[in-house]
């Protein structure tokens, strides 16, 4: 059904993929320093994989990533967010309290919980959007069980 596009599109998207992916990771990791965060960063990561699916076709992409991977990552991200919240309950006074050190203002490892929460959200959103994409691409072929 989806055979992939011409060699021009394939080459350009292969070159652009790591940059777009890295930009999404940057948006996720700097959510507490610059505009952005887990939600937009995760969508950018998912969009980079969607670009590869468009260029190469679904069959080629399925060899490296699968439905199950995305499902596991989606669940892991959600569990990570709640686990960080419960850490605040154990080591602090209330749910989602900051337990990690605040660090130096403006550096990457600062802001307490926010970096780790945004990493969890980024994994969760990227995997969730990809999961919806996979489900919509595959539902008329019956390849997911």
């Amino acid at each position: 059904m989806m055979a992939g596009m011409t060699v021009i599109v394939k080459t350009i998207s292969r070159i652009m993929f790591p940059f777009i992916f890295l930009f999404g990771v940057y948006i996720v990791f700097h959510g507490h320093l610059t505009p952005g965060g887990g939600f937009p960063g995760g969508v950018i990561i998912a969009a980079s994989v969607a670009m590869l699916i468009l260029a190469y076709g679904l069959e080629r992409i399925q060899k490296s990533t699968s439905f199950l991977h995305a499902e596991v990552l989606d669940t892991l991200g959600s569990v990570a967010i709640v686990a960080i919240g419960i850490l605040g309950l154990i080591f602090g006074a209330y749910f989602l309290e900051t337990v990690f050190p605040l660090g130096v203002f403006g550096q990457l490892f600062s802001g307490g919980n926010f970096l780790w929460l945004y990493i969890g959200v980024g994994i969760k959103v990227a995997a969730g959007i990809l999961l919806i994409l996979f489900a919509m691409l595959m539902w008329d072929r019956g390849e997911h069980k």
Partner: protein, 102 residues
């Protein structure tokens, strides 16, 4: 669409745009100030001023939006991500059920 109706639509758009521009220009508070509220004669600043003053030293994050999203409104964002999780589960469930019916 007749000429008269088209002119009427255009006039309506112009009136609405003029209302918005007037309200933004003349009735909104100055940039950087927060609206105050008055209850029973007591005047109080809005909560936004408090967030701006306290966000950086209370949480150590440079982005005040993040401070509000995960710090002061953490439960809301947790619910937001739960909504996305539920949406993903819903899409997969519906598509699987449609597949099984055929």
């Amino acid at each position: 669409m007749g000429k008269a109706k088209q002119a009427l639509n255009l006039a309506l758009v112009a009136i609405i745009a003029a209302t918005f521009i007037y309200s933004v220009n003349f009735t909104m508070p100055e940039f950087g100030t927060f609206p105050t509220r008055e209850i029973n004669g007591k005047v109080e600043n809005s909560v936004g001023q408090l967030y701006l003053e306290n966000a950086t030293w209370q949480t150590g994050a440079a982005n005040v939006v993040t401070t509000i999203v995960w710090g002061y409104r953490g439960y809301d964002t947790l619910g937001e991500s739960t909504v996305l999780f539920t949406a993903v589960i819903g899409v997969i469930t519906v598509l699987r059920a449609m597949r099984r019916d055929e």
